[in-house]
Symmetry: C2
């Protein structure tokens, strides 16, 4: 039985073509320096697993304080108890051990296990789909002409996505700090323009401003219900499960959630019991991890319910290979001014290549993230001192 | 990617030291000829998986009609879609494709995968417990003096189990056709005698006659509640979920179920939502299979609930290695006149050796069932003609 001998996070400089607005929503930007981190878990048999993430989720405090103590000296295959050891510490971390940190550690263990056994993680899980249907997930709206600043610009971009092969498209509409957001009428104009442009046979979904009132959310829901949308996400703060039950009770339109709620599969069981969603939602980041994300799919399946994954990436694809109570992979975020298919300099190729409406899964052992380790080592930056 | 090239069921003669009464309950009997079956799944890379079962679950009709067509030519690692193909056929089989047939096929796939990758199935699943706490599960009562014919005989046997190292014991009390069964008062006398004999620190559980009325079930539940039992199982027909909700609403004693209900994790989600059980129950046989059994554990975990496995065996042990929302492995059934530790002639050793209150898991690749293949081949009997 192997033992974990190394748990390290390498910070490195790379180039990003995205920039964040004052509320953290991403928009296209000029290529500019950015910092990423690679979590590395190695064992005494020489096997290694990686997970690429933001440096804020593998800080010195998080790695030294939680991840390394939980993993060092342990069997790297003992994913369940290693995950649980971290999960149990989250409560007393008071925010210092976020879901994304736990997920990074768990995904690195999966990557190591797949590499050790010479199998892609999706095959280890018992999956057999090596291509999964994807929807084009459009970035939040903006105020840049020729970008996503008007309903017509959404319509033009959605038409382009359909021409590229997408059979499903999701809109993120305008969020603050956009000057005219939030605005139910504008959201509905964008949705109507997109429906008009792509016709009745393309599945459409909406993820809007997350702080509408119940009344606004119902108005928005009725509007996209009439437009034949496949679902709506998070029009209100997800801290109020009661508001979502109220909304679900009235709409035929499926409400998909929760995305942002803590507690992984457990809080999601409460949402199902409360009737606060029609389609369950979880992400491999908030699962946290591939294992708990699968548990949420199993929970939904037992209740006769679909689950739709929040966000993409190799972990998401591994899950989607094996589950059947789902429809799509979320590919994006996409924008007219952003070349999604161009890999960042630290990857040889992107993780989710697209063809004929589907994303192709890697057959490489592990999670199949095509890292340029030479680039990462060459661009390493020192870790900041622990506080 | 390997392809399945062989799916066969081998019927063979062996020796049983159990016999069934007129209602199918097992009791010790003299060694006598018996027929068992070995389901074999082989792939074009030369890997093989086995599952040992009763010939009634791998009949010519079941293997030729369902299992072989679903598996032949397929990737043996694609457990989820192979399982689902069988599961979807169950509805239209009108009883011809029982859970135990699907489970046999699924467990053979797990055994093959573990052997192919050189890992025990519990390690493939991410588990790390190689010993799990076990309760001694006492056989149904009988009318044989010196067996389990009186409350005192239960007490004497329970004391012996505790002396052997068990820290938990479950009684199956008297079922029809025993002349004085069903009888709530006798059940409670047996439970009280056992509690008196083993003292307050041994966990006790009860599985009684399954056709008591609501009123009788409540009387029985109140009785074992006063005796500090850990749970009660199936005192009533499990077709009535409403009866179980009625019972759960009144008892502090945990009610554990359902055991016999069809529908795997899905019906169990309904029991949880209805409040019809306090501890969930499923077996690898009724899961059906290791994968759906894990899904039921995930369902229970998401709802903050424990799940206790029905029945033992290698598949049960693989599940118990990885899950944490459970307490015990069910070891047995045990009886004063039955040597549980003696392997049948078709096994080199039993699957669940016991030591210090725990069962030890095999570290052999696959499910770790220690088959005597020479014996099985030498005692092969021809399959009956398909009807």
């Amino acid at each position: 039985m192997a033992k974990i001998t190394e748990v390290t996070a390498t910070r490195f400089r790379t180039i990003s073509r995205m920039q964040s607005d004052s509320e953290g929503h991403g928009h296209p930007g000029p290529p500019s320096p950015s910092t990423m981190a690679l979590l590395t878990v190695r064992d005494d048999e020489g096997d290694v697993g990686y997970h690429l993430t933001s440096p804020q989720y593998v800080t010195v405090e998080q790695v030294e304080g939680y991840v390394r103590p939980a993993l060092m000296g342990k069997d790297p295959l003992a994913r369940e108890s290693l995950w649980r050891a971290l999960w149990h510490q989250q409560r007393n971390s008071y925010g210092r051990l976020p879901d994304r940190t736990i997920s990074a550690a768990e995904q690195a263990l999966w990557d190591l296990t797949g590499r050790k056994l010479g199998l892609p993680v999706w095959r280890l899980l018992g999956g057999d789909r090596d291509r999964v249907p994807a929807y084009g997930s459009i970035m939040c709206g903006d105020e840049r002409p020729g970008g996503l600043s008007t309903p017509d610009e959404y319509a033009t971009f959605a038409e382009k996505l359909v021409a590229e092969g997408y059979r499903a498209v999701k809109l993120h509409t305008w969020m603050t700090p956009v000057s005219f957001a939030p605005n139910v009428a504008m959201d509905l104009k964008a949705c109507a323009a997109v429906r008009e442009a792509v016709g009745p046979d393309i599945a459409l979904m909406l993820d809007s401003h997350h702080y509408y009132s119940r009344i606004e959310a119902l108005e928005l829901g009725r509007g996209v219900e009439r437009l034949g949308f496949a679902w709506m996400e998070e029009p209100m703060n997800e801290y109020s499960m009661g508001s979502y039950r109220w909304l679900c009770d009235q709409l035929d339109l499926p409400v998909c959630g929760p995305e942002s709620v803590a507690g992984g599969p457990q809080s999601r069981a409460d949402w199902i019991t409360a009737g606060a969603c029609d389609i369950l939602r979880i992400g491999v980041d908030s699962g946290p991890g591939i294992g708990p994300t699968l548990k949420a799919f199993h929970l939904a399946e037992a209740h006769g319910m679909d689950c739709e994954l929040h966000g993409g990436g190799a972990g998401a694809l591994a899950v989607l290979s094996v589950v059947s109570n789902t429809r799509w992979y979320e590919r994006g975020l996409l924008h007219p001014d952003y070349d999604y298919d161009q890999p960042p300099p630290h990857l040889h190729s992107i993780v989710d290549p697209f063809e004929d409406g589907q994303v192709l899964l890697s057959h490489a052992p592990g999670l199949g993230v095509d890292l340029d380790l030479d680039y990462i080592v060459a661009n390493r930056v020192p870790e900041p001192e622990a506080r």
